[in-house]
Amino acid sequence: MKHRSYLALEGVTVEFPTRAGPFCALDRIDLSIEKGQFVALIGHSGCGKSTLLNAVAGLVRPSRGVIFLDGDVVDAPGPDRAVVFQDHSLLPWLTVEENVRLAVDKTAGGKSRAERREWVMHNLDLVQMGHAAAKRPGELSGGMKQRVGIARAIAMNPRVLLMDEPFGALDALTRAALQDVVMDLQARLNNTVLMITHDVDEAVLLADRVVMMTNGPAARIGEDRTVDLARPRNRLEAIDQPDYAGARSAVIHFLHERYRNPATLAA
């Protein structure tokens, strides 16, 4: 029997019905991710990155092909595949603590109330948001909301952590601070992570592998580049490594030479 990776996408095709017939967003995607690996998915807007992530999350059903997670077939959304949404998606009527608590209550079966509360606070502390537990999302800045979004996801103890352009809406400095948070969390927890980004530096800095997608429709995986940087990583040390520059240049060549942005091609 052939060895199957921890997270394996086998021939995943996603088609959406439209008035003009089926629109093929993803075409026979094969992707294997090992346990504890951090994979960044990069590509131009509209290439189907989010569709791929939503398929793993179970929010979108593949038209053909199968997704395996630790040997189980993925066919519905579930808390074992926690998602950090781009717009954070915190519930505005709950406090920060209650938002995380809602996720913990669904995943921490058998734990006492005190243990759950402690687990919530532990995860908020991991993203340095313990001080804001009693605040509502409306009182927080964008970066703080996304920290809470990350805390909510990791508090679920997911088998795979899915991040859908988690820092896309943040300014450059806040983004860097959150990248440091993610690097720190990865060093402590060694989660299996699939992250969408369209920031080359972010992909190379955070990921063990950068998977580059061709332009849609019918997007495929164009290239798969391993980033051999030691962990735990540090921004200032990493940028001077030869493999950082090598991976960065490979991704930029892919995105701006081989598969240019379809929007700029037309111009």
């Binding site: 999350a57 179970g58 929010l59 519905a76 959304p77 579930g78 808390p79 595949r81 926690a82 998602v83 949404f85 717009d87 998606s89 519930l91 009527w93 709950l94 809602l102 996720a103 669904k106 679920m156």
Partner: protein, 318 residues
């Protein structure tokens, strides 16, 4: 608080300013501008209650002034001896009994009130009768309306089946239901309550449904990823996300039921503020009608504010 004098201002321009012409130094700004850079003394702190009182006064004064001005214009326009419409002073003198004894014939307790079934009842008694009808009819409309709104907001099938019917029925004027209502219930009290119910329910249904339909996809996705069961989805996501829309419908509904009850009672007679108006018109007591209008307006305004306040409180805690 001492205001710093201009001589103690920091920065070289202030110091070299006087000698500037001889030294040929170009000043960044003129000397008089520097001299003006002092602070006005800080006003003595105002007691918070006094500040609050001032804010309320600032809010209310324009309204009060407007009311006084309008009353004055009205008095001036209707002061002729042969004027067809009574002036405010005439209202005061002719309807004095109605204005100063609104609770005549009403036995008010802390937890209950009873209104004399026969004889002379004050305007507040009629208002209370109308309010009790509105309370029952509107209460039922709120419960049934929210339930139906959630049903058609949640289920595409129910929406397709029921929404066209609701859209047609909601345009039927309240009074058009009165003959049907009387035919079904035979009696004044239940048919008035039914009229309120049928008037208030449409905005509640349609706004609640719109609220459920516009729950952001983001919240639905959170619920799916967390695998919330239907009950958890209902209490943790749907209800809190829909509360603002729901209360928009409830506010429109309470206003419409107050409109409908007065009209219904005018036609039906017996008791209630609508009957009071009709009765005063038949007795050629136009000044009583004017007093009733003021009462109706104030009560309607209060009802609207109560529902709005309930919406704010529930929206905050949900």
């Amino acid at each position: 608080m001492a205001s710093p004098s201009s001589s103690s201002m920091k920065g070289p321009p202030a110091r070299t300013g006087g000698a500037a012409p001889e030294l040929g130094v170009i000043l960044p700004y003129p000397q008089e501008a520097i001299a003006r850079r002092s602070f006005a003394p800080v006003a003595a702190p105002v007691h918070p209650l006094a500040r609050k009182a001032r804010a309320v006064a600032a809010n209310m004064l324009p309204t009060l002034a407007m009311v006084v001005a309008l009353l004055a214009i009205w008095q001036w326009l209707c002061s002729a001896p042969d004027a067809a419409f009574p002036s405010p002073l005439m209202v005061w003198t002719q309807s004095h009994e109605v204005i100063v004894h609104p609770f005549k014939g009403v036995d008010m307790g802390l937890t209950h009130f009873s209104i004399a079934q026969s004889g002379d009842v004050g305007i507040a008694g009629h208002i209370l009768t109308s309010l009790s009808r509105v309370l029952i009819g509107y209460g039922m409309a709120a419960v049934v309306g929210v339930a139906l709104g959630i049903l058609i907001g949640q289920s595409v099938f129910a929406f397709r089946a029921l929404d066209p019917l609701f859209q047609i029925l909601r345009t039927v004027p309240p009074l058009a239901w009165l003959p049907i209502s009387l035919a079904i219930f035979q009696q004044a009290q239940p048919s008035a309550i039914f009229l309120i119910f049928i008037t208030a329910i449409w905005p509640v249904i349609l706004n609640t449904a719109a609220g459920v339909q516009t729950i952001p996809v983001a919240y639905r996705n959170v619920a799916r990823v967390l695998a919330l069961n239907p009950i958890e989805y209902f209490t943790r996501i749907m209800l809190p996300a829909t509360v603002p829309h729901m209360f928009t419908g409830l506010r429109i509904g309470v206003g419409m039921s107050w409109l409908a009850i007065v009209a219904a009672e005018m036609v039906q007679g017996g008791t209630g503020v609508g009957f009071f108006i009709w009765d005063s018109y038949n007795s050629a007591l136009l000044t009583d009608t004017i007093v009733a209008l003021v009462w109706i307006g104030l009560v309607g305004f209060t009802l609207d504010r109560i529902v709005a306040l309930a919406g704010r409180i529930i929206g905050r805690t949900a």
